[in-house]
């Protein structure tokens, strides 16, 4: 075995050989090989962020986020073990606990990545005492509604707005459990930013924070993406199409 990854290098994921290209992380290589690892803050068009930790795996016996851990030849990676699934389950429960997620009445239900990953992991309750944060809506914008109650702080909108739209409409402020999304306006209102409906930032939120107004429930609940097929199939297919 050599130190430098070769073009035909592989690592083991739950006993299967997964090939990878130099520079790929474990998650990237796994998805490219048609193997699903749950993730929330990762997005194929952006540099891995590594904050949600839902993609945690065990690499040669040590836990780490698969979206930021570079793939190395010969690594032994565990993903679908009960131990790892249990860690992920608790992380998803943490995310439900810190926000206000009322899925049955949520416009995003069925299209929500958090909900879908929760189903995949067999999450049935929030488990912890909910924190019920006070996060008022921002309905100031004529076309867009922000429902911060559902924000999981993945920074995808921040990254999209900064790196693709070159607008920096969103940023994070505060720290710890008080960390929260802010918009780029002295008034604190979305209407006073230069967000446009065709911005990239409009399409990346994995949950239901950034909503187009007057589009609610166009597709009825029950007929939405993850109502029809589980996320582990959808995610892998999307990767193939890309």
């Amino acid at each position: 075995m050599t130190d430098t990854p070769e073009a035909d290098a592989t690592f083991q994921l739950d006993g299967h050989d997964v090939p990878f290209e130099p520079g790929q992380t474990i998650l990237q290589a796994a998805l490219a090989a048609g193997k699903y690892i749950p993730y929330l803050c990762f997005h194929r068009e952006f540099h891995p962020h590594g904050s949600c930790k839902v993609c945690t795996v065990k690499v040669n016996g040590r836990t780490g986020a698969s979206c930021t851990t570079p793939a190395r030849p010969g690594d032994v990676v565990e993903s679908e073990t009960e131990e790892i699934r249990d860690l992920r389950r608790h992380l998803v429960q943490f995310l439900f606990t810190e926000g206000n997620h009322f899925c049955p009445s949520c416009e995003q239900s069925g299209n929500c990545t958090l909900q879908a990953v929760g189903y995949d992991l067999g999450v049935t309750t929030g488990h912890y005492v909910p924190l019920f944060p006070n996060r008022p809506l921002d309905a100031s914008h004529p076309e867009v509604l922000l429902d911060f109650n559902r924000c999981i702080l993945c920074e995808l909108c921040v990254r999209a707005s900064t790196l693709v739209d070159h607008k920096s409409v969103f940023a994070l402020s505060g720290r710890g459990i008080d960390k929260h999304l802010v918009v780029n306006a002295e008034s604190g209102r979305l209407a006073d930013t230069n967000l446009a409906v065709d911005d990239k930032a409009m399409s990346v939120c994995p949950v239901g924070v950034i909503q187009r107004k007057r589009r609610g429930f166009l597709v009825p609940i029950g007929k939405r993406t993850y109502d029809e097929r589980p996320i582990r199939e959808v995610a892998v297919d999307r990767e193939k199409e890309a």
Binding site: K53, L87, G176, I177, V182, N184, A185
Partner: protein, 592 residues
Amino acid sequence: MNHDLTALVGRHGGDGSRLVQILREVMAVEGWISPPTITELARLLHLSRAHVEGVAGFYAFFATTPHGRFRVLFSDNVTDVMAGSHELRKRMLDSFRIELGEVSRDGLVSVGATSCTGLCDQGPALLVNGHAIARLTPARIGAITSLIRAGSPVEQWPDNLFTIDHHVERKDLLLGTELAPGAGIDAASGRGRAGTVAEIEASLLRGRGGAGFSTGAKWKACAAAPGEQRYVVCNADEGEPGTFKDRELLREWAPLVVEGMTVAGWAVGAHKGLIYLRGEYLFLLPALEALLEERRRAGLLGAGIRGVPGFDFDVEIHLGAGAYVCGEESALLESLEGKRGIPRNRPPYPVTHGYRQQPTVVNNVETLVAAALIAARGADWFRAVGTPKSAGTKIHSVSGDVARPGIYEFPFGTSIRTLLTAAGATKTQAVMVGGPSGVLVSASEFDRRVAFEDVPSAGAFMVFDDSRDVLSVLDNFAHFFAHESCGFCTPCRVGTTVQRQILGRVVAGKGSRRDVDELLQVSRLLKATSHCGLGHTAGNAVLDGLTKFRPAFDRRLSSLDVPTFDLDAALAPAREATARDDAGAHLDEEGP
């Protein structure tokens, strides 16, 4: 106001990477960072407004809502609490007729809490508008209260309020060796750059900031990494509660700290050094600035140091602004670049991609002192002390229930019992070695030794005698971690708060055995999935407590097996919906 901001930003060259330093100055002048100020700073610095708001909202010493003209922050470290800080705080709150965190109606004063201020050997302590006052007594609180009421500017308060005592109780290899200024530098330049790295490697010096990485290996990797510039960063954030040894090193031994940085600069080929000084240590700044100036005049800093062509090195000081996580080296680098102090993803490591993405050595204050002396005295001199795996000595900050709090230098391998005896501790129940992120040691383990291979330590040594309630100590630590989590990753952001809640339930006598299982689960999650060392270690103390002080937990549980339901907490949403939080809306007087 805007005119002042233009001048202020101008003094920093309009450089957005100096944002944290700029915001510190705004705080000092205006008392808070208002929305129009944020807008104006963003314009002047060509940054997005949201970015500036994000940075201003991250650091505890920055206020984005109005505070009193006098902002008093009581140190909330457990040793301050043990020395009576909560009673003193109450005295001040009552005197101003305000609640904790509230601003008096006339806008004169607000009183809040802050994490350990590094004055544990002379607590209780507080900060007023960023200036530290130690050894609080009812009389001193009375004096402070009167000065505030009179509206007297803090700069004009009597000097004796601000004196900091020095308790250097035991000197050994580092503290006891005299070094003529420049002796380490001369020896290093005589050995050449590679020779200097080799000498440090041979000394077996390991980092004193916590992780214990080989200093020689770190310097070597930095020297070998490709880059346009290289940097040496002195980590003087010293945020771990109970740690104050760097505070003393940055005073009497400050010349050795700068000499160590200069030696490191020579060894790795860096021309610039940065000291990241925690904001709490503002009182050290004038003397440090004067020292740098003196060394420039003496040819120990600047271009062509000691007449050696190409030996160019100078040092700049940055101040922190109240964030423990900024002691983590990559978060520290983010903060130095004027951003939120969020730990970076690794790899790449700072030795290849550090400050401004250039190869950077980050070392603890004590590591740099050792490096300066090793350069002068040689590897063998250093390696002769300590244990084979832990060469040299360790400087301990001893506080809590001891007769003589202060700093103690002992060779690595010294037993905990020896330290306790030296400091005059009696009836000791437990010691928190290395601070809340370290190891909670019980009486049966006092013959264990402080060394990387046994009980490692970043320098804190907090002693608790048998009159103390271990659970309250752990509760204090749980609050600390919840307050200091940067919030980047899910496990630490939510887990530290969940840990605090569950432990709070147990401490209040409302916990069940299920809560104990939950605490174990949360600490497992923190350790396995957190992004940085803060989260990895945030459950250590509670875990140690559960293993070593289990009876203390079991005595507190309201029931050993029936899960308890906190009815009052469950009513919180109802209270919120009805906008009520009065006593009548609670099931007991303690409230949520």
